[in-house]
Amino acid sequence: MGLVGLLIVFVLSVAVGYKLLSEVPVLLHTPLMSGMNALSGITLLSALVATAAATALGLRWLGVVAVLFATVNVVGGFLVTDRMLRMFRSDRAGRPGKTASMSTTEAEKRP
């Protein structure tokens, strides 16, 4: 892809990202951050390409380190985000009829 095309992609993605992400509630900010952090590990793609292109042995090893770092980032990041998100529980699912029971006990309490 040409340079101009890439610049357009960059500007568009920042704009779309900004719009989408400002809609995420505070409740999900930690998983959002860790998910975005995982996504930044997509630099793995460039690490793969650059490592394959490296001819000198030293550079190749640098590339291996880059691939390793990026893979840990992607895999660890997405898995831990998944683990976190699965913890979020709704009131409605877990405790049916809670509001009703609350009002009755409230009434009972009054002398």
């Binding site: 340079l3 890439l6 992609v9 960059f10 500007v11 993605s13 920042v14 990202g17 989408l20 809609e23 995420v24 409740l27 900010h29 930690t30 998983p31 959002l32 951050m33 860790s34 998910g35 975005m36 952090n37 996504l39 930044s40 590990g41 997509i42 630099t43 793995l44 690490a47 793969l48 390409v49 650059a50 490592t51 394959a52 292109a53 490296a54 001819t55 640098l62 590339g63 880059a66 691939v67 390793l68 770092f69 893979t71 980032n73 895999v75 660890g76 898995l79 831990v80 985000t81 998944d82 976190m84 998100l85 979020f88 529980r89 709704s90 877990g94 405790r95 029971s101 609350m102 409230e106």
Partner: protein
């Protein structure tokens, strides 16, 4: 040239955007995250196919090892360690981008000008992200000092390193020899700058720093994408950059501090100075009565508002009388009495809850109070904890339904109707001095107005000033019961007292 590769890359970008779109509700977020992860996986396969690298065993092997490490880390980490884990992973991503830039610069054929520029940018931003994130993670894990570490001439050194980095970067862009030497020099300078940047940020400013570094890791990835001309990488990096930026701005606003003040450690200097002198900050009301009289905070007369309850549900009166009747009662006993008589209870958790690992005990207290028919909610300040949304994750881990977690703006006007507020390990975020104490780091920060509630129970370690260094006049108010000590133990004592 727009190839099949570009076509697929666009599809994957759309997939990632769709996944992120689903992340805005807890019901769909799990799916959204998985979609984004699948898109990244597809991107890897696509790249390997497009570049004809499917047979490269070295790449597969390395990715296998990396995936295993990532999997083990993700499975083993405790939720309490989440901030430092995110910091570390973030550093790895930035480091990988910087390494890619080094690789491209080190090729036999010298890359063209745009590529060199992209490489320099990726190298600089990635290097800063790597060392800065690791220092931040070290602080979050408490391996490094929580207070800002400021060396003599810190600002000067930072500026010099930055100027040097820009200078070396410019040299790499113009065609000169010794490209690899310059690249190494730029790497070292970027790493040093990252350390200088993160080391002088204090522990409680970490949410903002981590957000910023998260943004930078995305930007570094995007630059690396420019260097290898990969649209998928450019787009994903741009999205991550925007995400980090949003969180940074939100957090700065919530703590009423400027980003520059935080990363230069300035927001903390005033605090240390005032704490060091051991005198109250000028014009700082210290006693409860003076708080009432001084302008700024409008504290309703607590005693009068005691029996006028909300929504017609008259909470049983007499909490104050009960407490007054037995002055010899211990704070925990008094707190338990207050809770027994309360209808509406709001818990305000802070970093102290995380430190004492008291969330399980808080959950037990929540269950007990719910059984007793109380309405229990949680009021969470945006900068409570060590990363954005930290308290939400800790409370969700102990299975407190997310509908009960309220944001500052949603609950702040309702405190007058609350019978008892239970503060668990939170200090600065409930400090009414934020409204009155001009010239302190806390001044102007939106805080939870717990002093407006009828009674407040504070379960903090001690009454020392919080991270901002400003004494908390809340502790002196007559309607506040102080249960000092380890939050976890206090919660358990409170529970057993309630069972009596």
């Amino acid at each position: 040239m727009y190839s099949v590769f570009t076509f697929f890359a666009v599809i994957l970008i759309v997939g990632i955007v769709w996944g992120i779109r689903l992340m805005n509700s807890p019901r769909t977020a799990v799916r959204g995250n998985r979609i984004a992860a699948l898109c990244v996986l597809a991107g890897v396969v696509l790249t390997l196919v497009e570049k004809g690298l499917l047979t490269q065993g070295l790449l597969w092997g390395t990715m296998g090892v990396g995936a295993l490490i990532g999997w083990v880390i993700a499975a083993k980490v405790a939720m309490i360690q989440m901030p430092q884990l995110v910091g570390t992973l973030n550093g790895l991503g930035g480091g990988a981008s910087a390494l890619v830039a080094l690789l491209v610069l080190g090729q036999d054929t010298v890359p063209d000008f745009p590529s060199r520029l992209a490489c320099v940018a990726a190298l600089a931003v990635g290097g800063v992200t790597f060392s800065g994130s690791l220092v931040a993670a070290g602080k979050l894990a408490r391996w490094l000092p929580q207070l800002p570490v400021i060396m003599p001439g810190h600002a000067l050194w930072s500026s010099l390193v930055l100027v040097g980095l820009i200078g070396v970067g410019a040299l790499i862009c113009v065609p000169v020899s010794a490209l690899s030497m310059l690249a190494l020099l730029a790497t070292v300078l970027a790493l040093v700058f990252g350390v200088l940047l993160a080391i002088r940020v204090g522990g409680a400013d970490m949410p903002i720093t981590i957000s910023l570094l998260n943004s930078l890791s995305g930007v570094a990835g995007s630059f690396a994408g420019f260097a290898v001309r990969d649209p998928l990488l450019v787009a994903a990096g741009g999205i991550v950059g925007a995400a980090g930026l949003i969180l940074t701005v939100i957090m700065c606003r919530a703590s009423n501090r400027s980003l520059v003040a935080i990363i230069s450690g300035r927001s903390l200097l005033a605090a240390q100075r005032s704490a060091g002198q051991g005198v109250p900050v000028p014009s700082m009301p210290v006693t409860g009565s003076s708080v009432r009289r001084q302008g700024g905070v409008e504290v309703p007369p607590l005693a009068a508002g005691n029996d006028s309850s909300v929504g017609g549900v008259a909470a049983p009166v007499g909490s104050k009388e009960a407490a007054a009747a037995q002055p010899s009662a211990s704070p925990v006993e008094r707190a338990a009495d207050l809770l027994r008589d309360a209808g509406q209870v709001v818990v305000v958790p802070g970093y102290g809850m995380a430190l004492a690992e008291a969330q399980r005990d808080v959950r037990n207290l929540y269950d007990r109070l719910e059984e007793m028919g109380k309405q229990v909610r949680f009021a969470i300040h945006p900068v409570a904890g060590r990363m954005p949304g930290h308290m939400h994750v800790l409370l969700s881990e102990v299975e407190i339904p997310y509908e009960r977690l309220c944001e500052l703006d949603d609950i702040n006007d309702e405190f007058a109707a609350v019978d008892v507020v239970v503060v668990v390990g939170a200090n600065d975020v409930v400090n009414p001095a934020a409204n009155t104490a001009v010239n302190t780091p806390i001044y102007g920060m939106p805080v939870l107005k717990v002093e407006e509630a009828k009674r407040v129970v504070v379960c903090n370690q001690d009454t020392r000033p919080g991270y901002c260094g400003v004494p908390n006049p809340l502790y002196e108010l007559p309607d506040v019961v102080l249960c000092l000590g380890d939050a976890s133990e206090t919660m358990r004592e409170l529970l057993s007292e309630l069972d009596h």
